[in-house]
């Protein structure tokens, strides 16, 4: 180096376009290596996005099933009701103040219902169920999907004398549409109240366990049977999007009376909310793990690319190229590699997710999925945020890992590099 000092050197900077061209051509000098690395990156990125979309789809489905089936996004109940869901822990219907609060635009629908344990008996068998006294008009807006009625009809009013049961339940009781069954439950004075109901409708639910658990009757009919004036078990409220519940739920909470428990879904069902949070963590960990597995190959490729060109780099340095230009050039090469890989990966991901939009049939493990709160169809949910996250992590961390080999190249001693065989 010292011997070179006396000579006045003009250090050259290259225009960006020249760096780009150089990097691009260098990339394809060893097209096999580049292609292998590109396949690795695109498989990695595809896996990041595809897997994330599947997992998100699963959690969305879980939350949808969890919220839609009954509790609603916000529920108001007697403070003891959750521990002891009996008729003795019922509440009065919404008062004027709460009714006013329920008019806010964020509330999409709400309903009151009575929810008590009961025994349903046909002449063949009897079963324990949860009996729901509902206001049909508002219940269908909230939780009951009217299309799930497979035979007969849903209740028409709160005074309807009919009963709607699940298809599985009808099978167990060996009964069918139009037949009579007996409902037994406890009134607030601990007397057994019973009466016969005609089955006017049979429904099929996404989760088989719901068909066995819930039986629907009119709210007024049930209140009369159980000697209640006007009491209900819970008020269920739903908004437009479960992610925004926290924004409007305090308004409802403030408006509801003392001695009531008002809970948003994420507090009522800690499993769902923790799944949602765990999923965010999982997505990040998964993307990073795949990236790390990729990074070994990426660094390897760049180290090799620099190694092969040691003499060439030495020559460029000797001719007066600034070391930073070498650094930029290697980084640009890595950037191009990552960019093409990402592009291909994203295209593969989209191409594999879009045909699956109608759902993946996972009914072979339906009972297992039901344990997790999932139905037997899995709908991948591609979220823009997850896609951006995957792309950002690959580009940013990818460039960071490339800095080391690039910096190494820029620090080469021109003379030693030139003399390398």
């Amino acid at each position: 180096m010292n011997t070179m000092q006396p000579i006045k050197l003009t250090k050259t900077s290259l225009p960006f376009k020249a760096i780009l061209t150089l990097a691009w051509r260098n990339l394809w000098r060893n097209h096999r290596r580049t292609l292998i690395m590109l396949s690795a990156i695109s498989v990695g990125v595809w896996a990041m996005i595809f897997m994330t979309a599947l997992m998100r789809g699963m959690v969305d489905d879980m939350i949808y099933n969890g919220i839609r089936h009954l509790p609603g996004e916000v529920q108001i109940q007697h403070p003891q009701y959750r521990d002891d869901p009996s008729i003795n822990n019922s509440i009065t219907p919404p008062d004027a103040r709460l009714l006013e609060a329920l008019k806010i635009p964020q509330v999409k629908a709400w309903t009151s219902r009575l929810k008590v344990p009961a025994v349903i008996a046909s002449e063949r068998d009897s079963r324990g169920v949860i009996l729901l006294g509902v206001i049909p008009q508002s219940e269908v807006k909230l939780s009951f999907d009217i299309d799930s009625i497979s035979e007969g009809r849903f209740l028409e009013s709160s005074h309807d004398n009919g009963l709607v049961i699940g298809a599985k339940m009808a099978e167990h009781l060996e009964t069918r549409l139009g037949k009579r069954v007996v409902i037994m439950s406890q009134d607030p004075d601990n007397n057994i109240a019973d009466r016969g109901f005609r089955i006017i409708g049979i429904y099929k639910a996404k989760l088989a366990s719901q068909e066995e658990m819930y039986v629907y009757a009119g709210l007024k009919t049930l209140q009369k049977l159980l000697h209640l004036d006007n009491q209900i078990s819970e008020i269920a409220i739903t908004g437009e999007d479960y992610r925004n519940t926290d924004k409007w739920y305090p308004l409802i909470k403030n408006a509801s009376r003392e001695n009531r428990q008002t809970l948003p879904w994420y507090e009522a069902d800690s499993y769902l909310s923790s799944m949602l949070k765990t999923m965010d963590g999982f997505v990040l960990v998964w993307i990073i793990v795949v990236f790390l597995a990729l990074s070994f190959g990426l660094v390897n490729t760049l180290v090799m690319a620099v190694f092969e060109r040691t003499r060439e780099i030495g020559l460029m340095l000797a001719l007066g190229m600034r070391p930073t230009m070498i650094l930029y050039q290697i980084l640009t090469e890595s950037f191009l590699l990552l960019l093409i890989g990402l592009l291909a990966g994203n295209v593969f991901a989209l191409a594999s997710i879009i045909p699956l939009q109608d759902g993946i049939d996972i009914s072979s493990v339906a009972k297992g999925m039901e344990m997790m709160g999932n139905s037997s169809m899995l709908y991948p949910a591609l979220k823009l945020n997850d896609m951006l996250l995957a792309n950002a992590i690959v580009i940013v961390l990818g460039l960071l890992t490339s800095v080391l080999p690039a910096w190494h190249a820029s620090k080469l001693n021109p003379i030693e590099a030139l003399n390398q065989t």
Partner: protein
């Protein structure tokens, strides 16, 4: 040391950094695989144990219609003598007969629909853990005593304690009205609210008279020494009850189909992820070995010209890969097993685990389960895939022409 092995070893260290990067990718994924697979095996084992313990057991003998249609009428006669003879023939005490019925249970102030299990007081504690979870009181005094044990949540809701009486109302096996008064002798706490609210046990003989069951019962639960011996035991039991065509022996997969399916679903998604890791490692190996073949084209040309067979060169490349993969395997499994072993003693937990644990019947800390299988299955596949990835670079040598290869730049 044979010459191929020595050459392979030296070749590897011509590019130290490249070799270590490739081995590093293997170590990284092997470590992750060993850890994750051990963790999975551990959590599955706990999930199975904890789901089967409160009631199900490993095997049940039932009336053949009962599992699909659990009605009180789908019972079978002579259940107590059958259980006794099975205990004798199989030389184990972990066999207990039961009856199952549904009844409205009332205290002075409250009523609640309840799943009642009639049990043999002497043997039930050996097949399920509810009797062992008694917080207050004691287990039954005799098989025909009018006694009941209930869960803590139910006791709280019904407002009863030890010594209080409960009225049971239900339908008997012959369709008659079944009513009885039982004394609460014990209160158990399983930690699972559904069980603690909806399940109760009473002595089998009393249960049979209450529900007009005569000698009938609904299932005989059998617990094997461990999960791996269940299917052998099932075959033996099957032979022993061959003279009772109305009976079947069902294993826990059939009794709790959700359990196995949940595990399958989890395994499928896990293997998708492992597959991606393994493919990425294979790409890494492919890249490295292809590079090392290409840069040695001249060298290989000379060796071919000197009369060395292409097969010999191919095996050289495979040997190099073998050494790398072996290093990755040894270091990766050692590190992974060390971490998994530490956690199998200390336990492992992550945010959100507590809620998941409640849902899937697992404790709040999981302990990875280390076995030869859980340690070597992942790294073993990485090893094989690495060797497979080297086939393409090695195969290229067969198409090398010595003269043009020697001239290659």
């Amino acid at each position: 040391m044979n010459i191929t092995l020595r050459m392979a070893w030296r070749n590897l260290w011509r590019h130290k950094r490249r070799t270590w990067l490739t081995v590093g990718a293997m170590i990284f994924s092997n470590l992750l695989l060993v850890f994750m697979i051990s963790l999975q095996f551990g959590s599955y084992r706990m999930m199975i144990d904890n789901t089967l313990k409160p009631y199900t057991g490993h095997l049940q003998i039932q009336h053949k219609a009962y599992n699909d249609d659990p009605k009180i009428r789908n019972s079978f006669a002579g259940i107590v003598p059958l259980a006794a003879s099975l205990r004798r023939q199989l030389n184990t005490r972990k066999i207990a007969a039961r009856g199952v019925a549904f009844a409205m249970t009332s205290s002075k102030t409250r009523s609640w629909g309840l799943q009642l299990i009639g049990v043999e007081p002497e043997f039930e504690p050996l097949v399920s853990n509810l009797p062992g979870l008694l917080k207050q009181g004691c287990y039954f005094s005799a098989s025909d005593a009018a006694e009941i044990i209930i869960g803590t949540v139910l006791a709280r809701n019904l407002g009863v304690t030890i010594g209080d009486e409960l009225t049971l109302l239900g339908g008997g096996r012959d369709g008659s009205f079944a009513a009885g008064i039982v004394k609460v002798t014990g209160i158990f706490e399983s930690g699972n609210n559904t069980i603690d609210r909806n399940m109760a046990q009473l002595p089998l003989a009393y249960f049979q008279s209450l529900f007009t069951m005569q000698t009938h019962g609904h299932n005989i639960a059998i617990v094997a020494q461990d999960l791996t011996r269940v299917s052998a035991l099932q075959q033996r039991v099957n032979k022993l009850i061959a003279n009772r065509p109305e009976l079947v022996v069902l294993d826990w997969n059939h009794l709790q189909p959700g359990l196995k399916q949940a595990i399958q679903a989890d395994l499928t998604s896990a293997w998708f992820m492992y597959g991606v890791l393994i493919i990425l490692v294979a790409f890494s190996v492919l890249n490295t070995q292809l590079m090392s073949v290409l840069e040695r084209t001249r060298e290989f040309g000379i060796m071919l010209a000197l009369g060395i067979k292409p097969a010999r060169l191919g095996s050289l490349i495979l040997t190099e890969t073998f050494i790398m993969s072996f290093l990755g395997l040894a270091l990766g499994t050692a590190l992974g097993a060390a971490i998994a072993f530490y956690l199998s003693v200390a336990g492992f937990s992550y945010p959100g685990m507590e809620e998941m644990a409640g849902k899937f019947n697992i404790p709040e800390r999981i302990y990875p389960s280390l076995s030869l299988l859980s340690i070597f299955i992942g790294p073993g596949i990485v090893f094989i895939c690495s060797l497979l990835a080297a086939i393409y670079p090695a195969g290229r040598l067969f198409f090398l022409h010595p003269v043009s290869a020697m001239r290659a730049v």
